[in-house]
Symmetry: C4
Subunit: 259 residues, 4 copies
């Protein structure tokens, strides 16, 4: 039995034992910048999976992995315990955003509920800011629900531009900021400027650089480019095959009216 | 935690202390006539915000404001206390109508629930009546759920034409009239005739003129044209950037099937 | 407060006092044949309105009537008391079918719930069977959930053809038969063969003729043609204006992202 | 009254009395391979119908059968008692998959709930793997949620290929594997490679051959080709008429805005 939004704790907040962790979101989005950075952090920091999130708002399908085993669409939260003067971290990564408009709201409610259970007081959502042309030297555009956080982020080189992105911030990266505000939680979105045409490791590196300074952590960035290439390969492959698959599913739709 | 329709009172009806207020709705719509008039009234009358309304039926995104701070999509109710022989007012303004069909019904239920908590007995919804060509001398077309109110409004120059608008009145401006009828509340929609092609301050002025007579209020109309220009500028800018943004979001949809 | 499916009894079953009434459904559909016949019966038999049905599954709008007063989208049930050897009747007429797929199921549940409250044991749903070309001598195609009812209807000239209509019967006229079956209620759909291109009074007359024989009633058919013409006029007018209106609403959609 | 997902037991698990039955799913899908195999098994094994499943997630219509009687869209579960050294079986067949994305999740919850009530420990879902070109010698592609089951299936000639199908497995055949995994139930999907352009009895035979070996059953495959032809005929007929019907329904949509 899978609930509409089905949050499954592998470890309870008590078992994990974090102190005022900072919550980082990096789900699929423009240029997959956010996902690339968050996946990278999970790997490089050896983060531990503590929550799985399933939902009726994800596509109604399973993926087949390299070993022929299937995988349910899911998002996951990983925990990193503080070392040196870095803060404890919770990192939300995963396969999908909601495929329906209402689902975005329901999922963000669930993400924030998890964050609150862990005593989160500050949230960073990661994303791309697509400008439709190639970017030589990507910078990081910020948006936030807190004047204080804005001032802090500016020190790290994050730029804030009036009414940018003009179209707003769509999906979890945006809504998390808005609902956090209503809950009294400071939150900012860090967007790597990118063309929006491909998985962009350069843009991801810009975001990662800023994030490392903010969080007082240091991780190798070498694997980032390799990871982006791998991601690009997978996407190309999936797109190609999926188009074929979709074709058939659609041509098959007439057949649904059957018997 | 954001409810499907999330009504948050900043002040209770008792704290606001209005007497039989008249409820005015001016949400986005054809030519943004209704929104223009209602926003104008809120500013010119120095109205006080007393309710915020969030909803899963609004687009799943936040907007970025001039100062780089984000803003959740929301609608708001403002209160104006009576002066001279004008009645107390409640004014519903905001960012969005529902993006789903069912959502319109749920939001209108919430609007009326607020109105009833304040003892509202009469409602005016404001809108545009698009006729597809430029209008030299816009007039105000009315539609109502009450024969008495119709007779009253005719005295102020509001025209009632058989079966007009032919396509009915879509969204909150229309449904509020219908559901009000079932609740025994008098309600009328005042529609400024407009081309429908642009934000139309002339049409808004026509509606405002009638409304001022009905409500025995007087506000400057000077700012109206400036406000319309500002609105037009914002919309043009948003449309342009949003198209780009939508493009990317869509080209990104294939990538949602990922990992 | 309007429920998702909001059934409002004007008179209770006890007040109406019918005995085993036959339930007739004639909502908008192919060629408006069913609606034309059912509306005609309500008028000619002087039926009394006893139930109003509102729903979030209807379009989120109000219509403006000839007198400038608005009208909420609604469906209605009328009662006719038996005279001579005719049975008591309940007639479901109205403005709309559901605009969502799930809504059809929820509304049909409500229709059947009403029917059961009145002790209904037999249901006739009325519709058109569009064949895509002009029909000189329309006949009545039947479909039913009961072998006994089929045999009875054949005596009245209703034809039953294997697998026709091939595409099934969509909407309330079809679902009512299916869900009735599960509730142990006999039900049949009477479909006037029609081109499907226009409101078809000839097809409606064919259905009416059969229905009069089945129900042992006699009503004038003269007004039928006039009623169809009136319906056609209204539809033409509404379509024209609505297209304009929709155009504007759509061009206005970009503006919904505003402020 | 029809629930959103309405499961009706004709016989209780106790009355049926199966021991650790294996659950087989064969609903409409690519090349109708799964449906063809499952329908064939039900007929050849003389399986007994024990559950009917109705749902708001199926199309809002009824079909008209050869005898002129209507049929509600429904799925069904059949039971086969073990003979020789074959296991007990539950076979899920039916008319439709969900027409909405969320509905897939709700229906799969219901299917698994039924399976669990019968003590099911192993599930096989049947489908087609469309490759967009004619296939001379179809083989069976597998995907599973269990390494042990994979090893077992390989012995029967089922192939497992990395990341195939690339687009994942959409609908009940896929989701059943994913949700089963979370419930601790072994499950595999057996996909007959097929063009995807037609009902494919050759592909179905390949799946059936494997399935017979796995289940230690033997059924005649002669009727399979005849059944596929019959299915193809029905689909061609339905598609043709349905297109006409859809045309009318759509051209009729404008008329829904009426009265």
């Amino acid at each position: 039995m899978l609930q509409r939004v089905d949050v499954r704790f592998i470890k309870t907040p008590e078992e994990v034992g974090l102190k005022n962790p900072i919550f980082i979101e990096g789900l699929p989005g423009i240029g997959h910048v956010g996902k690339l950075v968050a996946d990278h952090l999970v790997k490089e920091l050896g983060a531990e999976k503590i929550v799985e999130i399933y939902s009726h708002h994800f596509p109604p399908q399973v993926m087949v992995m390299e070993d022929g085993l299937i995988r349910m669409p899911k998002n996951e939260v990983y925990a990193v315990s503080a070392h040196n003067n870095a803060p404890d971290l919770l990192i939300l990564v995963g396969d999908f955003q909601s495929i329906s408009s209402e689902g975005h709201y329901e999922l963000v409610n669930a993400y924030l509920d998890i964050a609150k259970k862990f005593g989160v007081k500050k949230i960073f959502t990661l994303g791309g800011y697509g400008i439709g042309r190639l970017v030589d030297e990507p910078y990081v555009l910020g948006a936030t629900n807190s004047k204080e956080l804005m001032d802090e982020l500016k020190k790290y080189g994050v730029r804030f531009e009036a009414n940018e992105p003009g179209g707003g911030i769509i999906g979890a990266s945006g809504l998390l900021l808005g609902v956090s505000y209503l809950e009294g939680i400071e939150a900012a979105c860090l967007m790597g400027v990118t063309s929006g045409y491909m998985v962009d490791p350069k843009s991801a590196k810009a975001v990662l650089d800023v994030l490392m300074k903010i969080l007082h952590i240091e991780v190798s960035v070498e694997a980032l480019e390799e990871r982006a290439k791998e991601m690009e390969r997978l996407i190309a492959q999936i797109k190609e095959i999926q188009e074929a698959s979709m074709q058939q599913w659609k041509s098959d739709e007439d057949l649904r009216y059957f018997r």
